[in-house]
Symmetry: D2
Subunit: 274 residues, 4 copies
């Protein structure tokens, strides 16, 4: 028996990430793009395939999410909505999707803790699956999981994150998140072997409460890179992830679309779907 | 209640690895060295601590394994024997240990598949724990486990192993083992995107039946390094292990000593104990 | 005294590289774009700034190189022509430029040895400077120069080049060129310390006549990377260049424009201008 | 005509570095060890080859430098003295060598600026060559020279140095020296593209007056490593040196022995001899 393709509606379809999702869904054999919602007035009615640069898909851009979801559900049953819109509309979008029986896969950032809890409760009541995913890069999640496992056996670890020099904040959110995941083990890292002295202040980077050192490099020519280095007598174990293109998020988006189908509640983080 | 220290007999105590084990056991708070067996005639009766370079331990080198095990069992009960001897004696050593109720932790290489099966059966009958560990480097095992996990989500992977230029064979045994572990998934890696042409033969390295490419670098100044590189559109995920000293095996030896105590059978590979 | 900006004509201005050059020249304070030549019929007369994505420059695309050079020379005196066109037109373009007193900076590939010699002779007679540059990436040239210098002191070296898996040939042209530059020293690299055995054919990569080993990695997610690794007892010296964007060639293009001005002959290779 | 081998006296021959020098000189075809001076009373008269672990050399350890130099000069003419002794005796050793017509190659640290100037003057008067070399690792010097060259073309650079966690001070002396060499160009590095914010203090490392960022990593399993990373739009150029063994200094020692022969004055730094 051939499985029917999964119907997908992309909300924010003409944005940078939305267009990538449109292309990825269009080339996935087990999915079909059934709706493209975007508020930009100048592209209403245009074929989203042309906008995304993957050839005609016969799916026009519209701006009414609700109507699109209703129509998709009637025609196709149980679609998934991928949301890459704006912090100020994502909460309403997700509520709308759940209300109409559509599973949300959310890449839009900016949901507060309270909003996430509220949406989770709403999904629970409706027994409706969904996923809120702050980072769709599978490699980052795999790296973090491997790092958590390694931290059980290594007591010494430092993190280097490297980004282009137009990134204003340091360390990166991903590096801080990695350090937090390692910290959950409850152990103290990098017990000092000698009395360390910084001849130049800041040389040793920053140190979290659990003793993890983090270093941030900023250079033009870099994109987004993270390196977690574990050390023990006679050995070094290094995990590194390099991002060079937005395309790196698409395997995670497609995987999320597939994995939310059987779910009955809202999950947070790609690691819950791996 | 304070736990009594684990009594440990080291067989092959004056060899390169044996001396490292002696030092490691001597500095582990939860262990006590109770016997040092070595066949070298010129060091019989000498203190193994002096030979290993960690100061006097009041444990003389002897050459009678059986007597040492009997005595250790009587005085201390249930010791562990760490074996770093020779391929031609290891099988007998392990049988002897099991026969005398001593748990073997075996780092000596050269046991055949049949010998391992036979020892496993013998240990089963005696309900006696033990471990045969071809590679005690925890970092290598963690890398291989992380690689197996990543290979579920990445279809493209190449392995680079780098060793000093006095290593004769290529690829390294560890790299081949990593490729075999990835192959167990049953999928075919590195589906070609273009018709590849080697302008210079061998440039693309070797390719296993499952499509995994392996490259071997040999240079003075290198020691022992392995890199597994996964690629997907827009991202690279790299796992690397660097060995610089025999000391890197000791955490794995100590962990094995601790973990065989409650076992009732013989396990193969450090990964079974992590 | 303020220096007058250098007038630049871009030939092949609407191509991928041409558009980058247009943007780079437009943002260089010491240059002014005075002509944009491109054969594509559908964009004739359009502003090249709009096409290149850097805002209006009031320089329309035209298809007559000769007329553009004549006009530019009359109005501005001594301009430079950057050529990123096609292998079948580049020779004529360069002759035309020299004939009209315009200095060529050529990034177009495909000139034969005979054509280059001929153009060099033609430039000599006209005492006209110019540059043919197969690779404008300054980092690559610096890496190669540093490698040549290191090869005087290190006898062991291997090259790893890593590219996306849509590159068909291996090793890369740049890696081959690096090996050739090292070979010019006339010494034999990587004298074997042991009898090497390839358990899997190709594992050790390819080996040039001078003994330099080259390894080619191909993975999606990679872009264009080269690593030259020198080894000696107790030390490793590594040079690595990573390319992530066509923008990396622009500093080399701008530098070439500036450096050809005082020249009286045609030079080959960015290294002649550094 | 076969060149006579260069006679070499090693002062501090039984120390860690001295023994390495003995081995290196013994295996260099163009050198001959003619004297081994060391103050340690318990090894007087023993063969230095046995002590160094390279087999008998028929050169006994003695403690009288002056007598050794006199004898070596009479028998062999013009020898070279390699000095790896102590900060408190090195100045006198070098004066003695020059006074007796022996060329000093000095690896001992601790000479003050004044002492170096004084020795240089003394060597000048005697028209005697010599070398004071704070770091004999050729790879480090090559890296620094390549970095200085690259810094003419790249405006953005960060340095990462990685050492074992028993090193107390950060950044390493070598990293500071590299930054100073780059600073000599007189330009300001890493002009900020955005207003940077450290969410965790120290994350961005330390910043020299010229804007060079330095980051220090400390982990067991590391030995001594330095990485200089240059960035520009679309490209990264990385220079890395890894030290794994004291042996890495020997090519620099042998090269210094050969290069001081024709000198008529005292030079400082291996770079003066490359």
């Amino acid at each position: 028996m051939v499985q029917a393709p999964i119907p997908v509606v992309v909300n924010g379809a003409a944005g940078k990430m939305g267009r990538e999702v449109v292309k990825a869904v269009a080339s996935a054999e087990d999915m079909i793009l059934v709706g493209a919602v975007d508020r930009s007035p100048e592209i209403q009615g245009q074929d989203i395939g042309e906008i995304a640069g993957c050839g005609p898909l016969e799916v026009p851009v519209v701006n009414d999410l609700q109507a699109t979801l209703v129509l998709a559900t009637q025609e196709r049953g149980l679609p998934v909505m991928v949301d890459f819109t704006h912090p100020d509309s994502v909460y309403e979008n997700v509520r709308t999707a759940i209300a109409y029986g559509v599973r949300p896969v959310v890449g839009t950032t900016g949901l507060t803790k309270e909003q996430i809890d509220d949406l989770a409760e709403f999904a629970d009541k409706a027994s409706m699956g969904g996923a809120i995913v702050p980072n769709f890069a599978i490699g980052v999640v795999l790296l973090q999981q491997a790092a958590v496992r390694a931290s059980q056996y290594f007591d010494h670890v430092e993190i280097i994150e490297l980004h282009h020099n137009q990134k204003a904040d340091a360390p990166s959110g991903t590096a801080i998140q990695t350090a937090q995941l390692l910290a959950e083990l409850g152990k103290s890292f990098n017990p000092p072997m000698v009395e360390e002295t910084e001849k130049l202040a800041g040389a040793r980077g920053t140190r979290t409460g659990e003793g993890i050192q983090i270093h941030s490099i900023r250079l033009p020519g870099l994109i987004a890179h993270q390196e977690v280095i574990f050390g023990a007598a006679g050995q070094i174990y290094t995990l590194r992830h390099d991002t060079s293109d937005r395309a790196c998020f698409m395997p995670g988006v497609l995987l999320s679309i597939r994995k939310v189908l059987p779910l009955k509640s809202l999950v947070y983080g790609l690691e819950k779907l791996l």
